[in-house]
Symmetry: C2
Subunit: 356 residues, 2 copies
């Protein structure tokens, strides 16, 4: 059977209405739409065809139709009309973003919160560094009796430091020597290059300060290992409960538990190869608990090997047009903001921490 223009129009109407009302859509409701000048019987015939073609489903004989996964897919890919953000919307998003975002982890949390607010759905935000890092320079600063600060300058303009305390005394000159040796032997070496052989060699050339070497190299390795670690935030799960499809508490719990845990590790991977905004419609999801839940995601660029991702989780019946529009705008604004060099408050190589 052929998918005529009229069929497409009917399908679009059904999806639109279902998104709005969360109730099966009957032929009469379609008739009442402006711009729809056929009788309910005609629409009925079209809907029967669309059902046969797999784009619509019927919960039971005497109910209206709801879109099937294939129906949503077609809608998302072809049918849906672009949602245009109002001035108010763009302005409030832009305002929100332009507040200071200092550290990456705070930024990730903040962005998740904003997206969740903007879409009224649970949001996931993540940032991760791509590629391998290596140390570009070591710096040792005396900090008192038996304690010094190790500063690592990494590729990608990242700076990391650690206060090291040892029971033994180390002199200024020892530190100078040690840092010279470190810079000579251990720079520009990725994690894989840290062979026992290399570390042994390092130990031997360290001289008087050789007892510091293990501590320093341990921390260095740890840092390199964590370099690609993903920073992630999930915010606003409770918004799911406002939607009729999650009146079923068990379902809500399954979905929420799964976005808490599983998605947390899976989604960034899914995002890897995608470009632009990606929509995963219900059954296309890998995780079983998410079979009737859709996900919309976008990447954004932070620069310097840092990759960001924002996503939204919601019912299969979600307002894809609105959500994708807002998400894209977010991603765009964020990318733009990080690209602008004159903006003073970018996530700088600030650091924070703990106290012993």
């Amino acid at each position: 059977m052929e998918l005529t223009e009229r069929k497409k129009k009917v399908l679009r109407s059904v999806v639109d209405l279902y998104i709005r009302t969360a109730e099966p859509v009957g032929s009469k409701a379609i008739t009442e739409l402006p711009d729809m000048k056929y009788s309910s019987a005609t629409i009925r015939n079209e809907m029967a065809d669309l059902t046969a073609m797999g784009y619509l489903e019927q919960p039971h004989t005497s109910a209206g139709r709801i879109p099937s996964a294939a129906g949503y897919r077609l809608y998302v890919d072809e049918l849906m009309l672009d949602y245009r953000l109002s001035m108010d919307e763009t302005k409030s998003i832009t305002n929100a973003i332009e507040e200071k975002m200092q550290r990456v982890d705070k930024m990730v949390e903040k962005v998740a919160k904003l997206v969740s607010q903007a879409t009224n759905l649970p949001a996931i935000s993540a940032a991760s560094r791509s590629g391998n890092a290596c140390v570009q320079r070591f710096e040792l600063i005396q900090a008192g009796q038996g304690s010094f600060i190790l500063v690592l300058m990494l590729s990608g303009e990242r700076v990391v430091n650690k206060l090291i305390k040892l029971p033994l005394d180390v002199g200024e000159s020892d530190l100078k020597l040690l840092s010279a040796v470190l810079n000579a032997t251990m720079t520009e070496i990725p994690l894989e290059g840290f062979t026992t052989e290399l570390m042994d060699r390092m130990m031997r050339s360290a001289g008087a300060a050789s007892s510091l070497v293990p501590v320093i190299l341990d921390f260095t390795q740890e840092t390199l290992k964590n370099h690609a670690a993903t920073n992630m935030a999930v915010v606003g799960q409770s918004r799911l409960l406002g939607l009729p499809e999650y009146r079923d508490v068990d379902k809500a719990q399954r979905v929420m538990a799964s976005i808490d845990e599983e998605a947390l590790s899976n989604l960034p991977a899914v995002m890897q190869d995608a470009n632009g905004t990606k929509v995963i419609v219900g059954p296309e999801n890998v995780a079983d608990e998410l079979k009737d839940t859709s996900v919309v995601m976008t990447k954004f660029d932070i620069g310097d090997g840092l990759q960001g991702m924002i996503g939204v989780v919601g019912p299969t019946r979600m307002d894809y047009a609105k959500v994708t529009a807002r998400l894209s705008y977010f991603a765009e604004s964020l990318s733009k903001m990080f690209a602008k060099p004159e903006t003073p408050q970018l996530p700088q190589a600030e650091q924070d921490d703990a106290g012993q």
Copy 2:
């Protein structure tokens, strides 16, 4: 009316049973408990008295009794039997804690996750620094053409750094001079001491490198301002949905939304003056949405002016004995772990950050 020993015993039984079953407790159920050698009629009389005294409530005439807020309070303060952690429990908690906890924020998240798992309830964890900080030493490290690294050593063994890039060239000697001046004028000064007068003086004595001063002082102030910032994590909200009292989706949503937002700012304040483990029973809660939700919290010590807090949110009918036992054990283990100087993997003054 006097609260006899027998009345107390009956009350304890009612609370215990209600905690287990979430159903109103009838006189017969009490009779069937071991160690309860009265007939249902006697128990009925006692329950009638307890109801008159305000410790029990009756949803409707022909239902059993449920504890009132006052009943819970009495139970928590006097009646409840100490829950003894099994070997398995202590072991699994200890194991979980002993994994590396590097940075404070990661640690906070991790702890929240563990507590939530251990109690099967949503958990809140927070860490905050108390008191005012000041810089103990400034250190400037040349990092390339027109860029250098600012390292601040703060009170409490905290170290923070930032990569600063400027369009102008700064020489090694300029940096040396500048850091000497900074260390001479700006150390040991809390945030309040950063008067415009002082900053002006600083500017004047900085000489050739005076253009760096604003950037440096801005960052320093920002850091001091953020010093007492609370790090917080909320985990496991979805666990609420497993409980019968939150089958009512609206209620669940209200509670979840409120622990997401409000509690986030209020709880640490509540904790401030408390000592040991604190239980807030339902209606004692300030926030309206939490009127039928209880909170159990404990502080723990991280040392170096860092204070930790873990808490759990659940239905008024929660297993207070078990929850407080587990929470206290957690707090104790954490405090002990941070006190032990020989433990190698404490949240050290490690740092991490962002790109750009």
